[in-house]
């Protein structure tokens, strides 16, 4: 598992706060993970657990104010992104780090053609002439499987369907051949057939370009299909991290176990869908002990009093739970 070279991306004890009207909302607290070149990392969790803030932080796009990077480092290729001057950061965005957003319907600038937007990012970062950039843009649109790219390049975003727009977004993110691609719920807004196509496309492009991918999602089936490693987040913290196969075979954190149990199975008897009782504590709540304790079936007094540290229970498999390793009833 261990490689000699440093990982491409290392997030180390990242904490992001939002200062809103006198209250401090801790959206992300002490998140750490790392990602090797060419690998795919899934970041999973329910709404409001800090997934999107984490991914925006890698781009340093959390609006400041009200956001604030309170602690930690994000090392990309050895450099700490949180202390980089803005001009340097801008050179990385769109060039070495690409980002795909959740809403293809609203993520493209409506007043410019798709081609125009790809040409823009190419001319900024790669120093291509407009004519060369246009050629490359058509090439990129072809690569992402947009039909008749040489005419589609002059289409405005509103002339494309949702799946086609997401393809354009991917072309845009990959135009400058980035080392890292951040995909924030890239398939959530799409219908299931288009979802599968987009996931296939991303997998295909990843193997072709060798880009590492951070895939933010709440969909465990997407993770199972595409990721090498998984980070499970809950209420602003990483509660479990493991290689995908390990996580699905042997989930350790009660929250992960609950998430797995909540996946409806096609071959199971139709009954009440499994849920995790309770809801995520709000980010302004001051919590003593484990953040999941209030919803956890296994919680003890220790869980309610002290915050569990991340402990390694097998190679590459860490879990933040006092009760781990638990014996899952088979």
């Amino acid at each position: 598992m261990e490689q000699a070279s440093a990982p491409l991306l290392e997030v180390d004890d990242l904490a992001v706060e939002f200062h809103v009207g006198g209250t401090v909302q801790r959206a992300v607290q002490g998140v750490s993970f790392s990602l090797e070149r060419g690998k795919t990392l899934g970041v999973v969790g329910e709404s409001g657990c800090g997934k999107s803030v984490t991914s925006l932080s890698i781009m340093r796009l959390v609006p400041q104010p009200p956001g604030k990077y309170a602690r930690g480092e994000i090392r990309f290729d050895g450099r700490d992104l949180l202390t980089l001057p803005e001009a340097e950061m801008r050179k990385l965005r769109g060039a070495r780090i690409g980002m795909i957003f959740q809403e293809p319907m609203t993520s493209l600038n409506p007043v410019y053609t798709c081609g125009e937007q790809i040409i823009e990012t190419l001319t900024i970062h790669s120093g291509l002439s407009r004519a060369e950039a246009r050629e490359k843009a058509i090439e990129m649109l072809d690569l992402v499987g947009l039909p008749s790219p040489s005419s589609r390049v002059d289409d405005y975003p509103h002339q494309l369907s949702g799946g086609q727009r997401q393809r354009v977004m991917i072309a845009l993110a990959l135009a400058n051949d980035p080392d890292l691609l951040i995909a924030d719920e890239p398939t959530t807004a799409l219908d299931v057939t288009v979802q599968a196509q987009i996931l296939d496309l991303m997998g295909d492009l990843r193997s072709r370009t060798g880009a590492a991918v951070v895939l933010v999602t709440h969909d465990l089936s997407v993770v199972a299909q595409t990721c090498d490693d998984v980070v499970v987040m809950y209420a602003g913290r990483v509660v479990e991290r493991a290689p995908t196969a390990t996580l699905f075979a042997d989930p350790q954190h009660p929250y992960t176990v609950g998430l797995m149990a909540a996946i409806p199975r096609i071959n199971a008897a139709v009954g009440r869908l499994a849920t995790i009782p309770g809801s995520v504590p709000p980010p302004w709540a001051a919590i003593k002990g484990c953040r999941f304790a209030s919803r956890c079936p296994l919680a003890t007094d220790q869980c309610r009093a002290e915050d569990p540290p991340m402990t390694e229970i097998s190679a590459g498999h860490g879990v933040a739970c006092w009760r781990a390793p638990i014996e899952v009833a088979a």
Binding site: L61, R93, G94, T106, L108, P147, H158, S161, V194
Partner: protein
């Protein structure tokens, strides 16, 4: 490629350019035609005026052509000093339009930039908006009076006063549009592409706000012409020998009983210009606003 596409109900036939859609609205078409004729007359005033608009004659208060006593040399009659009404209307429209266009143009551009900047840089927002509030508390007419008191009467102080009066409203409108544009995901996506602040401001924010701002300015144009005419009517605008519609109406006031045409004709023309500008502004909004498009 086995590309199963989502049903493409959001991909309609090629969209016609906005001006083609505008011309399909008959009322807007009439308004545009009327305005075009008026603008042409204003621009071509020196060429098409039958008489010197400033030259007095002894043929005072001649009625227009529909009266028995009319003078064929003066189709719309003459004013209280025997000057040709038609020629004065051409020149008066010219000055009125210049005042309207310049003040809306200058005030609208400055105000919109302030508003966009406030939305783009939230740190500046409270400062810009308080400044706008201060400006908003001066009525245009009062501001005009104050400026005239300092500079003396003339078209320039009127333009300055009206431009300043236009700034707060345009800043507020531009800001409210820009704030909603800033919340769109494509702004964040633009940042994620590594665009410079200027490119983001210009290509992402401004370009997405500009049509709504243009509509506002075209609507504002009618109001400004009215306020400009009111200022001239009060004697604050253009100085007597020059012609301006509001001032012409004011001068005709004294002869309202014997020669009503001197006041009524410029007043009606002002009304027509404002009405046409408002109708056109409405139609432009319908055509340019994407929310009303389908």
């Amino acid at each position: 490629m086995t590309d199963v596409e989502a049903p493409s109900w959001d991909a309609p036939a090629p969209v016609r350019p906005w001006w083609q859609r505008l011309l399909r609205d008959p009322i807007a078409l009439i308004a545009a035609a009327v305005l075009a004729v008026i603008v042409f007359c204003a621009i071509a005033a020196p060429l098409i005026s039958p008489h010197d608009p400033f030259a007095s004659s002894r043929a005072v208060m001649k009625p227009p052509f529909w009266s028995d006593r009319s003078d064929p040399a003066h189709i719309l009659g003459t004013d209280g000093q025997g000057r040709d009404m038609l020629s004065r209307l051409f020149y008066g429209t010219r000055l009125t339009l210049i005042i309207g266009v310049l003040s809306v143009g200058i005030g609208g551009v400055l105000g919109s930039l302030l508003g966009l900047l406030a939305a783009f840089r939230p740190k500046l927002d409270p400062w810009v908006m308080r400044l706008v509030d201060v400006m908003l508390s001066f009525p245009a007419i009062l501001l005009g009076l104050a400026l005239v008191a300092v500079v003396g009467p003339g078209a320039t102080p009127v333009i300055i006063a009206l431009a300043i009066a236009t700034i707060p409203d345009s800043a507020r409108i531009a800001r409210s549009i820009a704030v909603s544009v800033m919340k769109q995901e494509y702004i964040e996506a633009g940042r994620a592409l590594g665009l410079s602040s200027f490119a983001l401001f210009h290509r992402y924010l401004l370009r997405n706000c500009v049509s709504t701002i243009m509509i506002f300015m075209s609507m504002r144009f009618g109001q400004i012409i009215l306020i400009g005419a009111a200022l001239s009517f009060l004697g604050l605008g253009a100085r007597p020998p020059t012609a301006e519609l509001g001032m012409m109406a004011a001068q005709g006031r004294d002869f309202l009983l014997f020669a009503p045409h001197i006041a009524v004709i410029p007043a009606v023309l002002t009304f027509v210009i404002v009405l046409a500008a408002n109708i056109l502004g409405d139609a432009l909004r319908d055509v340019l606003d994407p929310r009303l498009r389908s």
